[in-house]
């Protein structure tokens, strides 16, 4: 059995006895039948793979039978193929001829992971997945041997979600590595991974993982249903899947949580969520996800609880700052000068004196400049990365103020806003504030503070109407649940956090029953 088959529990198929391979190739013009005659099979394989250079079909002899080994040379380790498969038959002396494929395997490849392929579809699928397929003349099945992997990226530290204290491993592009990273942390027979093959052209493996004793069946069925519905050509990253399974795509807010931290995914699994792992993507998704998930870093749980609680409040605050600060500036300096304390107003107006633009234009200019610099900073080759910061800080920041194009208060506001928007631990969430900020500036420019309030109310209405896999997006705040508040705005100590979030309707709602509040050893009235 292959590693992937070992890890995945084979999905029971509703359509009866059709195998995943059949499903995958059902739309393609490939004959299904596997022939007894080796020549016929070889001919159809050559027909299929004739143009690609990395396909090989080497003739060998296994005892007295004609056979051939077919593989894609780029998908497996060619050295171990030579050692284990191509060399083996010659060494074995023929005493008794093996009659069927099982005996052949038993005789020649007793130590290798294997699988039988009884249809031509399976043969093709195995070849594509890096197996070496041995077809023996006169046999009804082919033997697929797992040779060993090709090169893949090693497990490194996370690049987008760094923490100070806590595990430093990150997911990689290989789905088996990712699953093993999760399994290493949750040693539980009820941790289940189911596999799906999605993408008409790419046939990407997508696995959903869940702990069957915790996760609610309805959520699980909803996830399965939505994944089975997906019919797209290519799945190159979990982002492709994400867009196809969200409840509503016309929203700036991410409705699916993504992370490259295995420990974060594990904690979500243990709360009763479902993980979605896509082969080829180091970002694993967790559904259903709610608004407050995006303000929680896994480090919150690794530090003593007071500081993380404080930090969480800081995160919510900086979300609001990133959202409204520029528009507040526009509203106050354009419409409501009287609301500012007099001294502050004077100093702001003094700075704005030489500026030739109205506040809206000024702030739009700077925000756009900043967005451009940010984008350039991300896309720029590493070697020239320094340029952006120099140009940004010196030329655009200082020089623009000195030239009298913008006021220095405004530069402070734009810079502060930008920094505040990075505080959210999940990058895809900070994108939402970037987008909404511009709309909010427009509202402020037209209606002043009334406009800002109007927009915030519209935003809240929009937020509460969102759902992620049927779970209200603002769950545990609206609809309000008192028992869930131990891990929302504050993180209470681990012994106080006894319940799983109730909006997920977990099968076992209580994590730990005992009272475990630590206390100093009991002294018996000072008698000793």
């Amino acid at each position: 059995m292959g590693l992937s088959d070992f890890l995945f529990k084979r999905r029971k198929n509703k359509k009866g006895d059709s195998t995943p391979e059949e499903e995958i190739f059902q739309n393609e013009n490939i004959s299904k039948e596997y022939f007894k005659s080796l020549d016929k099979n070889k001919r159809s394989l050559h027909e299929l793979f004739k143009q690609t250079f990395d396909f090989s079909c080497d003739d060998i002899r296994l005892g007295e039978s004609e056979a051939c080994v077919c593989y894609l040379g780029t998908m497996l380790n060619i050295h171990s193929l030579t050692d284990k498969v191509l060399n083996v038959p010659r060494e074995t002396s023929v005493s008794k001829n093996p009659k069927n494929i099982e005996e052949i395997r038993d005789r020649y490849f007793p130590t290798m992971a294997f699988e039988y392929a009884d249809t031509f579809h399976k043969v093709v699928w195995h070849i594509l997945n890096g197996f070496a397929v041995i077809m023996v003349d006169g046999q009804e099945k082919a033997l697929s041997l797992e040779i060993g992997d090709t090169e893949k990226r090693a497990i490194t530290e996370p690049s987008t979600q760094t923490i100070i204290r806590g595990p430093k491993e990150a997911f990689t592009e290989d789905i088996n590595t990712n699953i093993s990273l999760i399994r290493k942390r949750i040693k539980n027979p009820y941790l289940i991974f189911e596999d799906f093959y999605i993408g008409g052209d790419t046939k990407t493996t997508v696995a959903i993982g869940y702990v069957s004793t915790i996760t609610n069946e309805d959520i699980l069925n909803e996830v399965r249903e939505r994944i089975e519905k997906i019919e797209i050509g290519a799945v190159l990253d979990s982002g492709n899947i994400e867009e196809m399974i969200v409840d509503k795509s016309f929203t700036p807010f991410p409705l699916v949580f993504n992370t490259e931290r295995p420990d974060s995914i594990c904690s979500h699994l243990l709360e009763g969520k479902v993980a979605l792992i896509v082969d080829g993507s180091p970002f694993v998704l967790a559904v259903p996800s709610v608004f407050t998930d995006f303000f929680q870093s896994s480090e919150d749980y690794y530090q003593p609880f007071l500081m993380p609680s404080f930090i969480r409040i800081i995160r919510y605050m900086s979300f609001m700052i990133a959202l409204v600060l520029p528009s507040l500036y526009v509203a106050l300096s354009t419409f409501h000068q009287e609301l500012m304390p007099t001294q502050l107003l004077i100093s702001i107006q003094a700075q704005r004196e030489g500026v030739p633009f109205p506040a809206v234009i000024e702030i739009f200019m700077m925000e756009l400049t900043f967005e451009i610099m940010r984008e350039a900073g991300v896309r720029m080759p590493r070697a020239v990365g320094q340029t952006v910061s120099i140009v940004g800080a010196l030329v655009i920041g200082q020089a623009a103020v000195e030239a009298g194009l913008v006021s220095s208060v405004l530069v402070i506001i734009v810079a502060f806003t930008a920094i505040a928007s990075f505080v959210s631990p999940i990058y895809s969430f900070s994108i939402a504030t970037r987008l909404l900020r511009f709309v909010l500036i427009l509202f402020a420019a037209v209606f002043g503070l009334y406009g800002v309030l109007l927009f915030l109310i519209i935003m809240v209405i929009h937020l509460v109407s969102l759902r992620s896999f049927g779970v209200p997006y603002l769950a545990s705040v609206a609809p309000f649940k008192l028992t869930d508040q131990d891990d929302v705005f504050l993180r209470l100590p681990a012994w106080a956090n006894k319940r799983r979030p109730s909006y997920l309707f977990p099968k076992s709602p209580v994590k730990e029953k005992k009272k475990q509040k630590p206390s100093p050893p009991h002294v018996q009235g000072g008698k000793k």
């Binding site: 109310i457 809240v460 049927g470």
Partner: protein, 376 residues
């Protein structure tokens, strides 16, 4: 979980939140009992208790036929055609009050913040937000309330503390107590204070049937009315002690005027915006409740889903807001002289009192088994 989406339900907490914001909504704009000077809070206290009684009466009616809203109750008691006719009157009443409430807010904004902005802009934008929320449904409405209630509540409480620490309060303003005897207070309580803001809770007869734990809804509503009454008393006391009786009588927006006295650390001053925020959300809730109640009535009368009527009716209301009176003075005058006697009292007390015996009789008949007067 899909079922939750189809049947719209409110939780008890959401009901309490909506009730609370509804109660303090327009009270925060125009204040109550300003004519009574330093005795306003006594009148509010008494009418809060009476208000709790009124709510229990409404709940009692609803309990006769669980799950049926005001309009369906009227069909039960008056029969199909008469019931629908009276229902239509209620629809007009609800929409008209929605317009009045919205007008209060428009006047506040155009007086305080945007002196040069035409009132149409405010009424259209506000109604746009309300229509969007109501279109998304009662659940979204309830949850929006849940998000804003902490802010509304804390800001209301903080205004009191801030004025106190700004040293602007003079508790002598509360004296003398009942200088002119109990006569003016009683006259003020009925009909004005009892109908606004407590009798207006008749709109919740359309909303309470959608609460998940219906049998507890009565208790929750009564408690919420008492709590919101206390907050109104709190606000009224702030207004009296900060502004003094003379200014209180003259001012149009008492809470706002009181908040303008706040000056802390030479930094926290001119907090008008905070008041406007409380008021804005209160008004949105209040208008939405009336709007929703009216729409539900239309739905009952026409058998068309109310979502189709959200936009047209919102358009009419935002237009009506401007039409109902030429200026603010006229608007307030109508609110004092005309509305309580000729609109609030009949719709809040007379009609329910009229159909209550009928309802009792019909539901009794139904319970005996002759189920001929189904609501649909």
């Amino acid at each position: 979980m899909k079922q939750q989406k189809l049947m719209e339900k409110l939780s008890l907490w959401q009901l309490a939140v909506l009730l609370f914001t509804f109660e303090i909504g327009s009270v925060a704009v125009v204040g109550v009992g300003n004519d009574l000077r330093q005795d306003a809070w006594i009148a509010v206290a008494i009418s809060t208790l009476l208000g709790a009684g009124i709510v229990s009466f409404y709940i009692m009616l609803l309990k006769r036929a669980p799950g049926k809203n005001l309009f369906e109750l009227m069909t039960i008691s008056f029969g199909k055609w008469l019931g629908k006719g009276i229902g239509l009157l209620y629809v007009f009443y609800f929409f008209y009050i929605a317009e009045r409430v919205l007008r209060d807010f428009c006047e506040l904004i155009t007086t305080v913040i945007f002196e040069n902005t035409p009132i149409e802009i405010i009424s259209i934008t506000m109604m746009g937000v309300i229509a969007y929320m109501i279109y998304l449904g009662l659940e979204v409405f309830g949850r929006t309330g849940e998000i804003f209630i902490p802010y509304v509540f804390t800001f209301t409480i903080l205004i009191g503390f801030a004025t106190f620490f700004s040293g602007e309060m003079d508790f002598k303003n509360l004296l003398p107590v009942m200088a002119e005897g109990s006569g003016p207070i009683i006259q003020h309580i009925f009909p004005r204070l009892l109908t606004f803001p407590f009798g207006e809770l008749i709109t919740f007869m359309v909303i309470i049937p959608y609460v998940t734990q219906f049998n507890k809804a009565g208790k929750v509503s009564v408690i919420t009315v008492l709590v919101s009454g206390m907050i109104i008393i709190y606000g009224t006391v702030i207004e009296i002690v900060t502004l003094g009786t003379e200014q209180l009588e003259r001012t149009v927006f008492p809470l706002l005027s009181a908040a303008r006295y706040i000056s802390l650390l030479e930094f926290i001053e001119r907090v008008d915006l905070v008041v406007v925020f409380i008021v804005m959300f209160g008004i949105i809730t209040k208008v939405s409740v009336f709007f929703f109640a009216g729409l539900k009535g239309l739905e009952h009368i026409t058998n068309i889903s109310y979502r189709y009527m959200v936009l047209p009716m919102a358009t009419i209301i935002s237009y009506g807001t401007i039409l109902i009176s030429d200026n603010f003075a006229e608007h307030i005058e109508e609110g004092i002289r005309f509305i309580p006697h000729y609109m609030h009292v009949p719709f809040q007390f007379i009609l329910p009192a009229l159909f209550a015996p009928l309802l009792f009789w019909r539901t009794k008949k139904q319970k005996r088994g002759s189920d001929t007067n189904g609501s649909k």
